[in-house]
């Protein structure tokens, strides 16, 4: 661990003043730039799609920059009221929400429509990090149980929309905080046991038929190759036919001839694998690993339990995106609507992610503010 003295010497550093963590920014920019190229290839080689993506990248970068200027203290101060407000909005979505693609995710406030579940991705780790950092680490069991309830509330509300992907990410972000806060291994074991006992209940009472179908399809996609299995089969064909070297940018037949569905969103990794092959895949995984490493480095070097937990949770949740998305398109996991972070087309989730990285940068560069 480096001493704070060294950090203070860097005050002159222009990046430090701007509250920008350069290695992290480079990693993020690499992924965003790759996203631009892939969206062009996957979106029918239309510049309009690339332009829209570039615009949301701009918005996200500005958002990240603004968030990075806010001292982490402020998040902690506002954790409880914002969390409560978020929960109310989720209830609002269920009661008055807009239906899009068969799920209620949007809240229309008259002047703006937005997805409260996206904001919860940031609010939940802040809330849980605040909650468990109230006392000394490692956390006590009672705290863990309370924290679990706090995580469960938004998770269930979002799962009810239904938005399995987001609820999964939100649950993870909370659980990561608890884990990093030192929840005892025995407790973790009990929880895992309970969770696996919960699976049949989930299957029988909570999952919607289309969600069950997804799981069935995941287990045997070939049973309905033109129906529910189509996505995953075409995705695996795209990835597999890319081989080691790939077919070349804009040359992927699965994507260019539109055999691959949801090419520029959830299945963009398949496009990438088809066109850039295993070599490209290895490079991409390396970039993700780099971003995760940098995030964890920031977490470890953070000054306070709250910021450590928050930075660690945000970073690990980011990795959950990577794992779930790649696992799903390559047939390791059932199809859950999780985009490839920062690369997929789709502004909302990217902006949320970049705001999270803004927090990481804030944590990394506002160390002189002791609590």
């Amino acid at each position: 661990m480096r001493s704070t003295g060294q950090d203070q010497q860097k005050i002159h550093n222009i990046w430090q003043r701007l509250h920008i963590d350069v290695p992290l920014l480079l990693g993020l920019l690499t992924l965003l730039a790759l996203g631009l190229f892939l969206v062009y290839s996957a979106g029918g080689q239309e510049t309009a799609v690339v332009y829209r993506k570039a615009r949301s990248i701009g918005v996200a970068l500005v958002g990240m920059f603004i968030v990075a200027q806010i001292p982490p203290l402020v998040y902690r101060k506002w954790a409880v009221p914002v969390f409560v407000l978020g929960l109310l909005m989720l209830v609002g979505v269920l009661l008055f929400g807009h239906v899009g693609k068969g799920a209620q995710r949007w809240l229309d406030l008259g002047f703006i429509k937005f997805q409260p579940s996206e904001i919860m991705k940031l609010i939940v780790p802040i809330m849980i990090a605040w909650f468990v950092s109230q006392e000394n680490l490692p956390v006590k069991i009672s705290t863990v149980i309370l924290a679990f309830i706090l995580v469960l509330l938004p998770t269930l509300l979002i799962a009810k929309q239904p938005d399995l992907g987001t609820s999964l990410l939100i649950a993870s972000s909370g659980i990561f905080v608890i884990f990093l806060a030192g929840a005892s291994w025995r407790l973790i074991g009990v929880c895992l046991g309970l969770a696996s006992a919960f699976v049949p209940i989930l299957w029988m009472f909570l999952m919607k038929p289309y969600q069950k179908q997804r799981v069935m399809t995941f287990l045997n996609p070939e049973q309905d190759p033109l129906g529910s299995g189509y996505h995953i089969i075409q995705s695996k064909i795209a990835i597999g036919s890319g081989g080691i070297n790939g077919k070349g940018w804009l040359q992927g037949t699965q994507s260019q001839l539109e055999f691959l569905p949801e090419r520029h969103t959830d299945f963009i990794f398949s496009v990438f694998s088809e066109e850039f092959g295993l070599i490209g895949v290895a490079a991409l995984l390396a970039v993700y690993l780099f971003v995760v490493m940098r995030g964890l480095w920031i977490a470890v070097n953070a000054q306070h339990a709250f910021t450590k937990l928050l930075a660690g949770s945000l970073t690990l949740t980011f990795f959950v995106y990577v794992f779930v998305n790649i696992g799903m398109v390559s047939g390791l996991l059932p199809v859950v609507g999780v985009p490839l972070p920062l690369v997929s087309y789709g502004g909302t989730s990217m902006v949320t992610l970049m705001l999270g990285f803004g927090m990481l940068m804030a944590i990394s560069t506002h160390r002189r503010f002791h609590v």
Binding site: E135, G240, L257, F323
Partner: protein, 653 residues
Amino acid sequence: MSPRRVAIRNHSAEANLFARRTFIAFAVVVLVLLLLFANLYTLQVESFEKYQTRSNSNRIKLLPVAPNRGLIYDRNGVLLADNKPVYSLEVIAEDVGDIKTSIEQVSQLLNISADRQNKFFKSMKRKRRFKPVELHSRLSDQQVALFSVNQHKYPGIFVNARLKRYYPFSDLTTHNLGYVARINRKDANKLEQAGKAENYAATYGIGKLGIEKYYEDMLHGTIGHQEVEVNNQGRVIRTLNYTPPVPGKDLTLTLDIELQMIAKRALSGKRGAIVAMDPRTGGILAMYSNPSYDGNLFVHGISTKNYKKLLESKDLPLINRSVQSGYPPASTVKPFLALTGLEENVITPTTEVNDPGWYQLNGLPNKYRDWLPWGHGKVNLTKAIEQSCNIYFYDLAFKLGITKISDMMEKFGFGDYTGLDIHEENKGIMPSVAWKRARYNKSWYTGETLSVGIGQSFWTVTPLQLTQALTTLVNRGERKIPHLLKAKSELIIESSGNAYHQITPIEYEPRAPLKLRNEKNWDTVLNAMHNTVQKFGATAHKPFKGSTYDASGKTGSAQVARRKQGEKYDAKSTSENKRDNAMFIAFAPFEKPEIVIAVAIENVAKGGGATNAAPVARQIMDQYFGDRVITSQLSKIKAKSPTVIAKTSQEAD
């Protein structure tokens, strides 16, 4: 903000705990990444070939390309069967916004009947939405133009051009060529069974009759393939590879369309048939059955109304009388019977029979009458043929008996298929004791033998059988296989890019010759036939008066309805379909014959073979031997059609 009491924090212990937990999390991250990578490695390296194949089979489709059907020419290179573009209006339902309204509007624009529209909607239900469905199968040029101007208003509806068979001489050639029509379920099943279905994947029609059916395999050609890249909609993006179809072989027939025209003109207004053959080869020069019908009607799918008209016509236009109608041969077979008598030694050329006008079997009351009420007096073989004396042949038949007659007649091909290269053939009836037993389960009566002696009784022949028998006779026993196909021509494309038609004449193995014990018997009979035409007062002298070639022949008048003993025949008082048939066979020139002809005309109003059938044969021969009546008309046709093949095929002959 921190309402709870907080114990003094041990920051470094917390940091250590957090660092440990973070490290564990990081280790898990690395493990998960390795797991992901291992899975991708399996997909991209170990299963690469499997997925590459599946990716290719996703995008690469083989589209069948129909070969062009071989053309059919007459012996002089006149095009008899052509392929012409036909424009159909097709609809891809998927691409049409409001299908009901669009179809209604287009139908109104092009005046498409409600019937066709209903048919369209029915077949649309059966087809996939991205496959084209026909709304109109044959647009007129005007309709094509009208639609083209308005096409932009109707996405998903388009004009498609297809090559379809066209017979420029329509009814003149239908009975020989047959026609091509849409492949129906029965055809499809047959193709499936024969393992040819794949070769027909893009083919619209198949030969249903005549030459088109018999030489279907030669005419059809071999399917080609277009290897295309398609997108997920099945839409063609680009062509990757093209294997061109091999067009069908062009066929040159032995037919002479000019003779065919003459035959039609000579038979106009009559029911009957003509077959003319080259006795040197067995090639059919002309074969025409009247009335005929237009084969083009069937190419596009004949309407129920038109088909009913053809089916119900009393003149039976669908019957190819040249090969399908069994006519009593009547006196035309007398030369063959005379030859049998000579060969069996029951008569000699000088044997005389007295003809008082009737013939009576010993102990039987029935009198068999000659056509000349007062008889021909003393008659030998030559005179019996010249005058067509029935009494002589009653006597001859009696002496021979049915078995010797039918045995010999079978050697001339009566009562059996000739083997002509079309499938529609009737073998006629050559009656015999065994035949009658099998057919009627009755014994043979001597009286029936007498009727056989003048080509009546159960005996029926096709005009083609008559020409075949006459060919054997004029060839003095050398038998030929009657055929229509003279040569086939194949487009050869050399690797250098040179393309030419390779003509292969068709070889027909001669059948085992008919050997007589005494070769002179041929001459006796042939001379008598020569006299029949050339000698003043003989039965066929008048019709050939003034001809420039040396013709020979034999007339016949066949009784169609049974008459009571002693009943007089009067054509006028007999109902039309019971009147006599007029028959005639002829060949020319007498030395080294080049053409043999058989003519059959049904239910003539007046006279017999000499007055009705012989003049028809004469017109054909006049044409054949140089009095080219309609050559000027033909030159127009020739100018239009390329005759490259014809020239070479003539060389090949």
